[in-house]
């Protein structure tokens, strides 16, 4: 027999057997698992090819669902190219949590990319109003009195990237460019007669999802904005100084006269770093939700907190629970020193635990021992947010005789 013919026969036998094996594997799984539950418009390739064992071990596994690997690693065993690209820029929280299945169906789905056709419902499961730590966290509504058309149609992907982006809110483009991609400049100019200069900062006035007001103007208007532009803007230059804001918001302005402040440049007015000067979704007229506003500059701190093994206990939803938002004379703009800020909630802690306070010096520095001598509320690798292992390593830093 000619060698080429022999090779052909062996090849056919091999691939035939492989096909048979996959088919046999799938048949075997579907004797118990109803096959119909694994079928939809789009079927995951291992399911389609009958290779359930790519993800599942049929006999025993360490992970729920008899998965071969933990959730963070399983998907990347095939989708290797995603592992690195998903570390760049601002990353969608489910990816940080290795929860690919928060958005994707593992077996089959009605939409492309194994995502349900009703993408909006899936997005709102996290981004809608929800209960967290016994509190109701406000979120996006399914529809508003006036709803932005793409949002109404469930086209979240028209504006947001699903995985990661270099821009806040995972936007696909810079906000003004993004608005301009649908709304022609001429059309916008016509609707903003009398606006000085080039139109910009759409999101300072408009809510991109929806609003109770026509033209998606955000629900809460800054009082001077209602009275007219001249209330704040200098007629000659159009600019608004920080001191102008301070004329009404004297308390906030006073807080900024501190050793550490958020008085930094931003279009000539530091207030608009965080606040929208014209309209907002709540009384403080913040540009976004509190954490998102802070994350615009302090993303690494927030990521460190999120990624810590042990975080500060529940009921801490906002950075401003512990930190001053405008300025302060304490470390990291905390609302007091390492004792005072913790005592805002932990009233009795210092009275029955390790001695702390002005009478108790740290032998390493001679400085007062405070809560943050041993704890880091921004999260650590040890229980109770201890900065080192509390079984021994932490204590012997000072108690060396033990």
């Amino acid at each position: 027999m000619r060698p080429s013919l022999l090779l052909l026969i062996v090849g056919c036998l091999f691939f035939g057997c492989a096909g048979l094996s996959a088919a046999a594997e799938q048949d075997s799984c579907f004797t118990c698992h109803e096959k119909g539950l694994f079928q939809d418009q789009v079927v995951h390739e291992p399911v389609k090819s009958g290779k359930c064992s790519i993800c599942h071990n049929p006999h025993a596994a360490r992970y729920k669902g008899l998965l071969r690997f933990e959730k963070g690693k399983l998907c990347y065993t095939c989708h290797q190219e995603k592992a690195e690209s998903f570390t760049k820029g601002i990353v969608h929280e489910p990816i940080n949590l290795h929860e690919c299945t928060a958005c994707h169906e593992p077996h089959a789905a009605s939409g492309k990319g194994l995502v349900a056709r009703d993408l909006k419902a899936r997005c709102l499961a996290c981004h809608g109003p929800r209960e967290e730590n016994d509190k109701i966290i406000p979120g996006l509504a399914e529809k508003y009195k006036h709803t932005h058309q793409p949002y109404l149609e469930g086209e979240c992907g028209a504006c947001h990237q699903p995985h990661n982006s270099v821009r806040p809110m995972l936007l696909v483009q810079a906000p003004d460019e993004l608005c301009g991609s649908c709304h022609a400049e001429g059309e916008l100019q016509a609707k903003h007669t009398g606006y000085p200069g080039t139109l910009r900062g759409c999101l300072t006035c408009h809510n991109p999802h929806g609003s109770d007001r026509p033209a998606l103007i955000r629900n809460v208007l800054h009082e001077p904005y209602e009275q007219g532009c001249d209330s704040c803007h200098e007629q000659s230059s159009g600019r608004v100084s920080v001191e102008k804001c301070g004329e009404c918001h004297a308390e906030a302005f006073g807080e900024m006269l501190a050793s550490h402040t958020h008085l930094t440049r931003r279009d000539g007015n530091a207030c608009v770093n965080c606040h929208s000067p014209h309209a907002g979704d709540e009384q403080r007229l913040l540009r976004a939700r509190q954490k998102q506003v802070c994350a615009a500059c302090h993303r690494e701190s927030i990521n460190k907190y999120k990624n810590s093994a042990f975080k500060h206990g529940k009921n801490i939803d906002n950075c401003v629970d512990c930190h001053h938002q405008h300025g302060g004379n304490d470390m990291a703009m905390l609302k007091g020193n390492g004792l005072e800020v913790c005592a805002l909630c932990h009233e009795n802690q210092g009275k029955f635990t390790h001695p702390v306070g002005p009478e108790v010096p740290d032998p390493r520095t001679g400085r007062m021992i405070t809560c943050i001598t041993c704890h880091n509320p921004m999260g650590t690798d040890y229980p109770y947010n201890l900065i080192l292992d509390g079984k021994q390593q932490l204590c012997v830093q000072c108690h060396k005789e033990y």
Binding site: S241, A258, S259, T264, R265, A270, K304
Partner: protein, 313 residues
């Protein structure tokens, strides 16, 4: 064609030529040694900084609270520490012994930075009253000055001097503004690329070295205002708050969140990092400023540990 074949034959003959086995080992060892040495050199540099001096108060009652800046008077061989939490200035001699504690009769309100000009005048950034305050020690006179420029009120943050002029970093504009001793604006250094302007700067080698913390970049500006070089710090730093020009023209960047000093060579290439988080001597907690003294000491002001440590290589 024959020419091309000739080349090919030559290449083949070269590829077949092998060095003697003993010679190859020598080359290999030499290369390995060289690579090891090149890698180790940076590590040696990185590990060679040790604490020589600590500027602090010994008693818990009199401890500094949130020291924010250091000024070094080369002529008098003194260190001045700004104790922002206790509204005072402390002077130490070159050996680290406390010389004086000065609070201008209780007049200082959240002092943040200071310099002493050649005429003996002390200038203090007082954040609590948004003032650049002059202190005439001989005349025993303290005068707050609220600065204004054509852009509006100036909010001084960092302060440097070349001996005569005052270089003020303005938080509101992010610019560095140069004033003469009469507080007349002489010049303005603007960062057109930064979203938040400059955060810290040093005047060294006749240039301005300015840090854009949010953009994680350092700009080297000529005195004309022209940007001569931009150093992208990239992911080597997380939250850079201060910078200093060290020996050999190396750039030392203080990273507040990683509690490290990150060092770049004169071309802006990352070289190594120093120090670690902690409370013990030689560790950083919430560092806020880095600078070099004229005696090659690397000085780090640490708010969190309420001290200034001077490291020597």
């Amino acid at each position: 064609m024959r020419y091309l074949m000739g080349i090919r034959r030559k290449a083949m003959s070269q590829s077949r030529r092998r060095p003697a086995p003993g010679m190859a080992s020598v080359h290999l060892i030499a290369w390995a040694f060289m690579l090891l040495w090149m890698g180790a050199a940076d590590r040696v540099l990185a590990s060679a900084w040790t604490v020589q001096l600590t500027l602090m108060r010994d008693t818990i009652e009199d401890a500094m609270i949130m020291p924010s800046a250091l000024f070094i008077d080369q002529e008098r061989e003194q260190y001045y520490v700004v104790d922002s939490g206790k509204n005072r200035l402390l002077s130490f001699n070159r050996q680290g012994a406390l010389l004086n504690v000065f609070n201008a009769g209780g007049a200082l309100k959240t002092p943040f930075d200071m310099v002493r000009t050649e005429d003996g005048m002390i200038w203090v950034v007082e954040k609590g009253r948004n003032s650049l305050t002059s202190i005439d020690l001989l005349g025993k006179k303290t005068t707050p000055h609220t600065l204004r420029s054509r852009e509006g009120a100036v909010y001084p943050h960092r302060l440097e001097t070349d001996g005569e002029q005052l270089f003020v970093q303005d938080s509101a504009s992010g610019d560095i503004i140069v004033y003469d001793s009469g507080l007349r604006e002489q010049q303005r250094f603007v960062c057109t690329e930064c979203s938040q302007g400059f955060f810290d700067f040093k005047v060294a080698s006749g240039k301005i070295w300015a840090l854009d913390w949010l953009g994680k970049s350092v700009y080297v500006l000529a005195m004309s205002g022209t940007v001569e070089m931009t150093i992208r710090l990239g992911d080597e730093v997380t939250y850079p708050v201060s910078l200093a020009l060290g020996p050999g023209g190396y750039l030392f960047v203080l990273d507040r969140h990683s509690r490290q000093v990150v060092v770049f060579d004169p071309d802006g290439a990352f070289k190594y990092r120093l120090l670690q988080q902690g409370i013990a001597t030689g560790q950083l907690y919430y560092p806020v400023e880095i600078l070099f003294d004229p005696w090659d000491g690397m000085c780090i002001v640490d708010e969190g540990n309420a001290r200034v440590e001077v490291y020597q290589q």
